[in-house]
Symmetry: C5
Subunit: 309 residues, 5 copies
C-alpha cells in the first residue's frame, strides 16, 4: 500500500474495511497501481449506441472477451460494463482485474426526457465478483430526482455489502442547453451532486469554459475563478468534489480520434489534479495493438512519466 | 451431451449448474436435440390477437392440449405459452417436453404506447415445471426502460432459481418508424440490448435491409457491413449478440403462409448462422399433419440436412 | 361427486387439492349442485350504481343479510359481494353457502378512463370463509395492463392459499366503441384473456352479433364462424375459453325486467353450452318470492329441466 | 354493556373481540356512553385550514392539550386528530378518553384534484393508545380509487391489530358539481361506499335535497323516496349504510355559528335515526364554557333527552 | 439538565427515552447548551445552489471538514448536511457535536414543480452517528402530499430508532405567489403542518406581513392578530406550532450580508419567542474568524445576553 493510496483511502472515513478493500483494489491494480491515478476501460456503448456503431470499426470487439483482454493487457485499473458483457466474459478472467457493474443503462432509441433503465443490482455485482457498482445520473433532467433516489438506494446497499460506488454524472435534459451540458459551472455542479450522493469515484465529462447558469456566472466573475485553460477547469471540478477529497475522473468532451487532442486532454487532467480517465470508444474502436499503445501513453501522462507531445 | 451443446453452454460462464441444466434441456430435446439448433413452438396469439383470429383457421387449436401435442409430435425443442395455456394443459404432458412460461403479454385491444402486462412469475414457472421464463421487451417504446427493469428483475430471480431466460426483443413505439421496427440496424440493436440484459436466448424478427438510424447508417456504409442478403443480415444480428456467443433465434418478418418463402427464410437463418426459429401461426393454423411436415422440413433445414427448395 | 363435476375439475390440472376443493364447493352447492351448471348471486350494485338505484326498488335489499338469505333460499351455487357486504352479513350464515369476495370495485362517480379500486384481498377472503376471490378486468381500457397485473398477483396468491379465482371480464375503454363492448369478437377475446390470466371461472356479458375489430371481421367471415343466434354466440365464447375447458358464465346484455327475454337468454346460454348465469339486479330488485321463482326457472333452464317459454 | 350497545356490536360479525372491544370503548365512553349515540370531537382544522383560521377565534385552542380537555370535560365519546396533535397532548390524558388517529390529511394550499396525504399509520395509532384509525375518502375525485385502495390497506391492518375504522366520506372532485357534493343521492352513495370498504363508523355531511345524478333521479322519483326534510334525508342515508347496520354520524352542511340552526340539525339527525355528530369548529372556536354547554345540548338532543328549541 | 430543557422535553410526551436523549443532545450542546435556544449550522448549499456559488466566496469551505470545524469552534448546537458531506468529514469529529442528516435535497438545475430527491435514510443517519434526520417539505407544491407521506415514513422510522426529526417547511409551488411563500399566514400554516406531521424541530423562513390566502385574511383582520413587527410575526408562528410547544427556528427572509439587518432578525426571533436560527450562507461564506464572531453574537442575542445594535 503506497502512501498516496493510504492518503486517498483516508478520505473515506465513513466506509467499512470491506468497501475500502474494494476501493484499494481499483487503486492498486494495473500499470497505475499505487499512484492514486486511474485509467478505467468502460464498454457500455453496445447498449448506449448499438452494436454496429460501437464495434464495427474493430470487429473483434463484438466479443465480450475482447474487452477483458484489452483492459488486462493495457494494465487498466478496472473494466466497467453492463450485466450482459460481464456475465458473458467474466468466468475466463476471474481475478484478473477489478470489475465495475453498470447498474443502469440507456439506449439511443429513446426519445423521452433523459432517463436510464435499471439493468443490474448489487446482488448481481457480488455474484459476478465485482469490486464496485456504477450508476449514471442526469442532473437537469426532469427525471433527476428519481435517479438520485435510485442511486442512493443502490449505493446504500453497495456500501453495506462492501462494494465501492462509481457515479457517472452527466448533466442533460429539460433544464439545460446543449452547451450547458458541458459548461464549467454545470460540470462542477454535477461533480458536487455525485459527491453529496455518496460516490467514491465520480466520472464527469471535460468541461468547456461556457457558463450556463446566470446566478453562477456572477460568482465566477466576482470571485475570478480561473477557468480559461482545460487544466484550470479540471482543477475547479476537482475542488468542487469536496476540495479534492473525492476521486474524480474524466472522459473527453467529444468523440475524438485525433490522438494529439486526446493526449492534450490527458495532460490537462493531469495538470489540473484529476485522478484519471475513462477511455472507451477511443480505445476499443482501434486495433488492439494501437489501443494498448495509446492507453500506455495515457497512463504515463496521468502518472506524470510522460508529457503530451 | 454433444460437443456443440457443450460449447454453447460454455458461453454462459456466469450461470449456475441449475440454470445450465435447464438450458441444456432446451438444447437436447426433440428432433434437433444436440445440434445446437432450436425450433420452438410459441402460442401466445390467443392473448395477442384474440381467439378467433388465432384458432378459427384450425379449430382444434382452441384446445390448450393441442399445442402440447403438436410440439411433442413435431419434436420441437420447447413449447412457450402464457400462464393460462400452460396451467390448462400441462398435467397431461408432464415431462414430455421443456416448457417456457411467457411472463408478460399484450393484446390487440391496446391503443396506448406499446407495453405489456405482467402475466406470470418465476414462481409460476417453477410451479408449472418450466425450464425457462420468457419476456417481451419493446426497444424504442416510451415504456422501454420500465420493461428493461422488469425483465432484469425477473431474469435475476429466474437465474437464482435455476431457470433459463428467453427475451423476445421487438422494437416498436414512439422512437421508430414502421420500417424501422425490422430495419437491420434496429434489429441488431434489439439483439444487443437483450444480450446485455442477460438473456440466454434471444428472439428477434428477421431484419430487412432498411437502416433506420442516421448515425448507424454512416457506420454501415463506412464499414461496408454486408446486409444485402437475408443470410448476411442474420449473420450480422448473430454477431451483434456477443459475436455469436448468445443463442439468437428468429421469426419470419411477416405473417406468411407461402411455404416456399418460409423455407427460404429458414435457409437464410441457417446460412447466416442463426440458431433456429420460433414458428407459431405458421404451424398451428394449418392442419396437424401439414404442420408436422412443415416443422420437420424447418428442422432439417436448420440442421443442415435439407435445403430450401 | 358427480361424473360431470369430476370431469370439470379434471380441466384444472395445475391446481392444488385445496383450490379444487373450493371449486368443487361452488359446483356442488345448491339446486344446481353436481350438474356442472352455476347460478351465482352477485351484489356489487350498491358500490357500482349507488344504494338507491340498487335497493330502493326492493327496500329489504338494503340489508346485507337479505342477499345471503336470497341466495340460500333460491339454492344459488354461491354469493359474490364486496368486502362490506360479506363482513356485515357473513356471521349469520356461516357454512350456509359458498362465498366469493370481490376484490376490486368501481363506482358510477368515476369519470376517468375505466378502472377499479382494489377493495379486498386474499387474506380478507380467507378471514371471511370465502371459497373464491373475484376480480374485474376491463380489456380495452388504457388501464388494462395494470389491471391484468393486479389480478395475476391476486390469483397467484389465491391459488397458493387454496382459493378459486373468478374473473369478470368486461371490455370497455379508449380502444372500444360502445357497441364493441359487447361485440362477439371482443367478448370472445375477453373470455380468452381471462382464461390466459388463470381464471377458474370467467364471467362475461352476452355478446351481440356485432364485430368490432377489422382484423377479426375478416376471419369471422372467411371461417364462416356461426354467430347469428345467441346460442351460437355463446358456443363461440365457450370455445374461445380453451375449447370449453374453462367455466364460462354469462350475464344479460342489458338491464332487463322482461322475464320472457330473460328466460330466452338463459335458454341461449344453455343451448350454447354455457355454464350458467350471474343474476344480480334481475333477482334482488324484485320481491323475494318472485325472485326465488325466477331463479328456480333460471336454474331449471340451465339444468335442461325446463325450456324458456 | 347496555342492550343497545350489544345490539350495535352484533352488526359487526366479522370483527375480532379486540376490534369490538375498541368499538365498545367508543360507544361506552362519555355522556352518551351506552346510548348507542356518539358525539366526537375532531380537530384536524389546523392541518386542513391553517392555524389562524382554526384557532385564532379562541386562542387557547392553539394548544394541543386544549382539545383533549374539551372532549373530556364535555363528555365526548372520543377525540379525533392528526398525528402531531395526538403526539403532543396524549401523555397528559392517558386513559381519559378514546382516541382516533386521522391517518390522512389535506391542506388548503392544494390546487390539484382532491386528494390527501398519508400522515399516520396503524402502528402510530397503537403507539399512541388509540382505539381507532380515521381516513378520509373523496368519492368522485380522479384520485378516489387510489384512496379506496389506501383505506382498504389501512383498514385491513387496523382490524388485524384490534382497532376500529372510521371513514370520513366526502364526495368531491372532477365528477361532481359543487351542489352535488352534498346532494342526497351522492351523500347516500358516499355512505354506501364507506360501508362496503369496511368502515365501522361512517362520517358524512348532512345532505341537501338536491339530486346530482340523472340515473339516480329517476329512481328517487319512481320509488318516491322521501327526502324533503332533513330527518328524512338522514334516514335515507342511514338506510343506505346497510339498512342502519353501520354507525353513521354527521357533520353540519356548512360552517354555522347560529346555534338554533345547529340544534335543528342535531334534531334532524336524531329524528332520522342518525348515530350522532362530529362537531369540530362549532365547538373549539367558541369559549370553553359555551362549547361545553353547546355540546351537552347536542348530546341531550342525540340521546332524546332534549328537543331542539 | 436545566429546568428549561426539561420543560421543553416534557412537550414531547409521545417520544421514547432514546429520541428524547437525542433531542436533549441538540439542546444541551455548544454555547447555547441548556438555554433552550439553538443555532444550527446547515450546509446543503453545495447541493442546492452548486459548489462555486456556495463555496467560492470562502474557498476553504469546499472542504467538508471545514463546516464541522466551524460548527464546533463556534459552539453551534448541531451541524446539518447531506449524506456526502457527513460521510466525508464525520470520522475526524466523532462525538464532537450533534449531527443532523438531511434525507432529501433539491438542486437548482430543476425546472419542474418543486420537489426533492430522497438522498438519505434513517439507517444512514444511524451509521453516521447522527442525532436527528432532516427533511424538507414544500407546502403548496403539487408534490406536497407525496412529500408529506415521505417525511411521515422517515419520521416514523426515526422515532422507532431513537432519532429526532427536523422538518424544513418551505412553502412554494403552483398554489402560491412568490410573495405568498413568505407571507405570515402561509409561514404559520407551514409551521402547523410540520408540527402535525410529527416534527420535533421546525425550521421556517422569517415571515413578511403579507397575507396570501383570502380566507385567512378575513380572520387576521377580524381577530386583529398582531403581525406588524417581525417579533410579532415570529410570536404568531411560534403560537401556530402548538402554542409554542414545538421548537421553531428561523432563517433569514433573504440572502443578506448586512450584519446589522441580520442581527435585527435574530433580535426579532428572540423577542418573538423563537427558539433560534439556522445560519448557513451567512456564516460559511465569510472568513472563519468573522463567522465565529457573527455566530457568537447571534447566540448571545438568542440567549438574551446581547441586544442587536
Amino acid at each position: 500500500m503506497t502512501p498516496r493510496v493510504k492518503e486517498i483511502l483516508s478520505w473515506y472515513g465513513a466506509d467499512s474495511p470491506g468497501t475500502l478493500t474494494n476501493l484499494a483494489r481499483l487503486l492498486n491494480h494495473g500499470r497505475l497501481g499505487g499512484t492514486g491515478k486511474l485509467v478505467i476501460l468502460p464498454v457500455d456503448q453496445g447498449f448506449e449506441h448499438g452494436p454496429a456503431r460501437s464495434f464495427a470499426p474493430n470487429p473483434p470487439a463484438y466479443d465480450p472477451r475482447y474487452h477483458f483482454e484489452l483492459a488486462i493487457q493495457a494494465g487498466c485499473n478496472a473494466y466497467a460494463a453492463p450485466l450482459g458483457f460481464l456475465e458473458a466474459g467474466g468466468r475466463d478472467f476471474i481475478g484478473d482485474l477489478p470489475l465495475i457493474l453498470k447498474t443502469n443503462d440507456a439506449d439511443s432509441l429513446d426519445t423521452t426526457e433523459p432517463n436510464q433503465a435499471i439493468t443490474g443490482s448489487v446482488a448481481d455485482a457480488i455474484r459476478l465478483g465485482c469490486s464496485a457498482v456504477g450508476f449514471t445520473i442526469y442532473p437537469g433532467s426532469a427525471n433527476q430526482y428519481e435517479m438520485f433516489g435510485q442511486v442512493r438506494a443502490i449505493a446504500k446497499e453497495a456500501k453495506a455489502k462492501g462494494l465501492a460506488v462509481v457515479i457517472w454524472s452527466y448533466p442533460r435534459g429539460a433544464a439545460l442547453t446543449k452547451a450547458g451540458e458541458t459548461s464549467i459551472d454545470v460540470i462542477a455542479y454535477a461533480a458536487q451532486i455525485a459527491a453529496q450522493l455518496g460516490a467514491h469515484i465520480i466520472k464527469v465529462k471535460l468541461p468547456s469554459a461556457h457558463i450556463e447558469q446566470e446566478e453562477a456566472k456572477k460568482v465566477y466573475e466576482q470571485q475570478k475563478i480561473p477557468i480559461k485553460t482545460q487544466a484550470e477547469r479540471v482543477a475547479h471540478v476537482v475542488q468542487s468534489a469536496f476540495a479534492g477529497r473525492r476521486i474524480v475522473i474524466f472522459s473527453g468532451g467529444a468523440a475524438n480520434f485525433d490522438d494529439k487532442a486526446l493526449f492534450e486532454e490527458f495532460q490537462a487532467i493531469h495538470d489540473g489534479g484529476g485522478f484519471g480517465s475513462i477511455v472507451g470508444r477511443n480505445s476499443f474502436q482501434r486495433p488492439h495493438a494501437e489501443a494498448i499503445k495509446m492507453l500506455h501513453t495515457a497512463m504515463d501522462i496521468h502518472a506524470g512519466k510522460a508529457k503530451a507531445p
